[in-house]
Symmetry: C2
Subunit: 248 residues, 2 copies
């Protein structure tokens, strides 16, 4: 049994806690969070001085608080990891052995996730700590990757394009539909098929549309239909597509 203390109970903390609780190989002994929580499934503490001994301490708080928070821990030479895609391993206090435990997924409290399918990216300073993190990650997820801090940051950046920006394009599509009284649900099958094709065919081969065909008539017409802020997005993505397919 790997003894775990979870530090933070936001979206990620909540889903991690549920996944650890379901695993036979993990003993989630404490969850620290600042405010009081009306959840009796876990053992909460609200005072950092009450943290007990564990094999791994997992910090699951917002990126810019990780460095400061890790210095407030009143113990030494333990394995302390953060869960951020974009924070370097050495931003953690050197009072403890440092590591990273980064589940690559988008979490909302109101939507359940199957942790088994979430890739977990791990990193540690010492190889024995990497072993512990590997066991811990494997106990809740099927796919564990060992990435260094630079790779993890790049992966996080790729995820911004693939999740944050993609979702914003969905939003723009929905806005266009709303303005013209078109049910957005007409686009659901296209959203699903696009994501499946990106995976099964590769995005380069799956590309279609006026920009790829360099169909200037349609491009011009569509630009004129858009409000100004979306015009800029259309232009810059079309120009990037043109560059991609003319150079190949």
């Amino acid at each position: 049994m790997i003894k775990v203390v979870l530090l933070g109970f936001g979206n990620l903390g909540y889903h991690l806690a549920k996944a650890f609780q379901r695993s036979k190989n993990v003993n989630l002994i404490q969850i620290y969070c600042r405010s009081s929580v009306s959840n009796r499934s876990f053992n909460f503490i609200h005072d950092l001085s009450k943290i007990t001994s564990a094999d791994v301490y997992i910090i699951a708080i917002s990126d810019d608080e990780i460095a400061t928070f890790s210095k407030q821990l009143n113990f030494n030479n333990k394995l302390v990891v953060h869960t951020s895609g974009s924070v370097n391993i050495d931003e953690l206090s050197s009072a403890n052995f440092r590591g990273v435990f980064y589940p690559l997924q988008t979490f909302s409290k109101d939507k359940d996730v199957d942790f088994k399918k979430i890739p977990i990216c791990i990193e540690a300073e010492r190889s024995k700590d990497l072993d512990v993190l590997n066991k811990l990650a494997s106990s809740i997820a099927d796919n564990v990757y060992h990435l260094n801090s630079e790779q993890r940051k790049q992966l996080h950046l790729a995820a911004v394009f693939i999740n944050n920006f993609v979702n914003h394009l969905y939003f723009i599509g929905e806005e266009i539909c709303k303005q013209h009284e078109i049910p957005f649900e007409i686009l659901y099958p296209l959203i699903t098929e696009t994501s499946q094709k990106g995976i099964s065919l590769s995005p380069f081969l799956a590309q279609t549309g006026p920009a790829k065909r360099n169909d200037l008539t349609t491009i011009k017409k569509q630009l004129e239909m858009l409000p100004l802020p979306y015009q800029k997005i259309y232009e810059i993505l079309t120009s990037s597509l043109t560059n991609t397919y003319n150079n190949n």
Copy 2:
């Protein structure tokens, strides 16, 4: 039985032909295509003068050829429809009764599609033709929508954002991964979850990430990591996200 002649055998024509062939309510009597085809499942003709009588003639060729092609048909007062998202119904020759039969999906010959799940948007000048198109569409698909030409063009534009541009963001994500020797497969679950959340939660509510949080530190760091053309895309989408979430 609705008698259909299909004019064109590109990606869409191919998938339409297969869907009509499977339907008990449709008799696909001819497929016209310019070049010879090594496919014995269908009755091909290569000469427009050999077209026989049918209830519906479906033009499935590229957008900019539709107007000219429809004028070359040597018959009158029949129901002739095109399959394009962005072409107006009145671009078809007025020698025949005009309509539109637009399946909203992305088609590749090497990937099978379940036509049942594809929304078909129909339009016709005469209500009796709309009935025929409704029956024809319902015989191969579960969801049929009646949209006018303006709505269809707007829907097609929304689809450019949701399919073409989304796929290009997948491509950029893959490029970032390749450059840093990160397996792109790590991002597959995120691609799938993002698409499902866009549908189940609505894109506005599903949004996460540094731009939504207005996390300027991460935004600045990530911009510096990107090559110039992708920096522009990052900037413009971040600025659009900032506007969306600061005004709400």
